[in-house]
Amino acid sequence: MTVLVLAEQTGGQPDELSLQAVAFARSLFPDRPVHALLVGEAQAVAAAASLPVATAYVAEVEGSYAPAAWATAAAELLDRLQADSLIAPGSDRGNEVLAHVACRLDLPFAANCVAATPGEPIRLTRVRWGGSLLEEALLHAPITILSVAPHAVAASPPGRPQAVETFQPALAAADLAVRVVGRVEPAGTGVSLAEAKVVVSGGRGVGSAEGFAVIEELASLLGGAVGCSRAVTSAGWRPHRDQVGQTGTKIAPDLYIACGISGATQHMAGCKGAKRILAINSDPEAPILASADYAVIGDLHEIVPAISAEIRRVQGR
């Protein structure tokens, strides 16, 4: 039996999460051939040459992303290879396309798995609550359809496939009814929350929209981005694009400075990728202290300006 990995690419290279999905598939089924599928045009063909799999298939679909077309290509190839597993990265598109395939084939689909054990049924562990909880589950299905939670396994290094093969999937008009028809480029400039090396974030403890002035000042001095908790966006103090959390942005800065943030699971799901966490909180019992590397106890409205002043002093600014 064979395994098919649905892969995505950026600029003609397989993306990191797709190489993680390949690694997951190879460790789950070490004795079986693992094939991959890319959907697209020239860039997909280029990326196929860097996938460390048996055969890298490219379904030639012109134009922009269309989830149902990707699903048709995957379902067609699954059938042709008589594959019994379809694995994708737990990305927006990976999860979306696998759900479409599962609907076509009337099969269950397990999203965001971190581990799996072959067998009938297959036993798997998947992420709940944005990673704050794990679920052990059984998948009862003749074909295993699962996505791999981001960063659950190390990526396979890029490598050459034994073969690259292109094909034209038999698309129906309905497969292209929903597709990307345009793009809106971001208006904002400045450091993006997702890519900032330092994020200075405020929670309910900041107290008001105006209270964020001290957070902004420190972020600016450190060349970092401003973040906030869900309590803050719900109160309307900051826009949702600043929210760090399970339903906001997931960040991985070198340093996360969390000011007046209690540390609810919703929030921690967004910042657990931070290398270091410094909590500034008036409550020494706040849950965030259990996830922080460093803490300063006290009123953020006194402490944060004092840090900014000290940075100016040492830098002679």
């Binding site: 992303y65 609907c103 944005g130 929903v178 793009r183 699971t265 590397d293 803490a295 300063v296 402490i303």
Partner: protein, 255 residues
């Protein structure tokens, strides 16, 4: 227009998740309940659409008897009526959930006509299966767009935006359609006291579907091994500032 919005009752987990002794559920004795954040925004979007275009909004949930609380919350901010598919509290897998929702929609179609728009959250806060909206769309033979952060009705079409890195992808689909939304599409309002009183008088149609055998079968829940840390206390109050700046220098984050 007519809008159906689907929600799921979930606990407000707070700072630390504790499981029941059988490890099948979260211990909720001391927790409040809400709907998933994406769904709060789906409800708000439904109410705004009806305020703008006129028509009727309906909220649907599959959940235990106590989920009536979440249906009343949605009606308190302006949803007109509710459909409650009552369960015994046992979780349904996503295929079974979608099938029960489709059956309820078919019943609506027989008595009240079709919906123009079906709104879902992109994924539930707890199970995070990322598929119920898509499954419902397939069963109904409708187009579906997921992860939507902006929605506009233009005649008999929808214009939708979905984040793609720092940019946004645009989609256009004809109505009727299924859309799954993300938090941030709007800022949900808080219910008013008169809104809460009106919600008590709004109708809820209840039925009790039978749970099929799950094909994605939950065995047990596990709290991940905590990387519980002993935070190094750098100091108390503004006097700690010099020590903090030393640390920033040590970590190499001072520009």
């Amino acid at each position: 227009m007519r809008v159906l919005v689907c929600v799921k009752r979930v606990p407000m987990t707070g700072g630390r998740i504790v499981l029941t002794p059988d490890q099948r559920e979260i211990e909720t004795r001391h927790l409040g309940f809400t709907v998933s954040p994406h769904e709060e925004c789906a409800v708000e979007e439904a109410v705004r659409l009806i305020e703008t275009h006129g028509g009727e909004s309906v909220v649907l949930t599959l959940g235990p008897p106590q989920a009536e609380e979440q249906l009343r919350d949605a009606m308190a901010i302006g949803v007109d009526r509710a459909i409650h598919l009552v369960t015994d509290g046992e979780e349904w897998d996503p295929q079974a959930t979608a099938a029960a929702i489709v059956e309820a929609i078919e019943v609506e179609r027989r008595v009240g006509g079709d919906f123009d728009l079906y709104l879902f959250g992109n994924e539930s806060a707890d199970a995070g299966n990322y598929q119920v909206g898509i499954r419902v769309a397939y069963s109904l033979g409708l187009p579906v767009v997921t992860g939507v952060k902006a929605l506009a009705v233009e005649g008999d079409r929808l214009r939708l935006e979905r984040e793609a890195g720092a940019a946004r992808d645009l989609y256009e689909v004809p109505l009727p359609a299924v859309v799954t939304v993300l938090e941030g599409i709007n800022l949900p309002r808080y219910p008013s006291v008169p809104g809460r009183m009106r919600a008590q008088r709004k109708p809820i149609a209840s039925s009790t579907p039978v749970r099929p055998t799950p094909r994605l079968e939950k065995v047990r829940l596990v709290v991940p091994e905590s990387q519980r840390k002993e935070a190094e206390i750098l100091g108390h109050g503004p006097q700690a500032a010099p020590r903090v700046v030393e640390l920033l220098a040590e970590l190499g984050v001072l520009p």
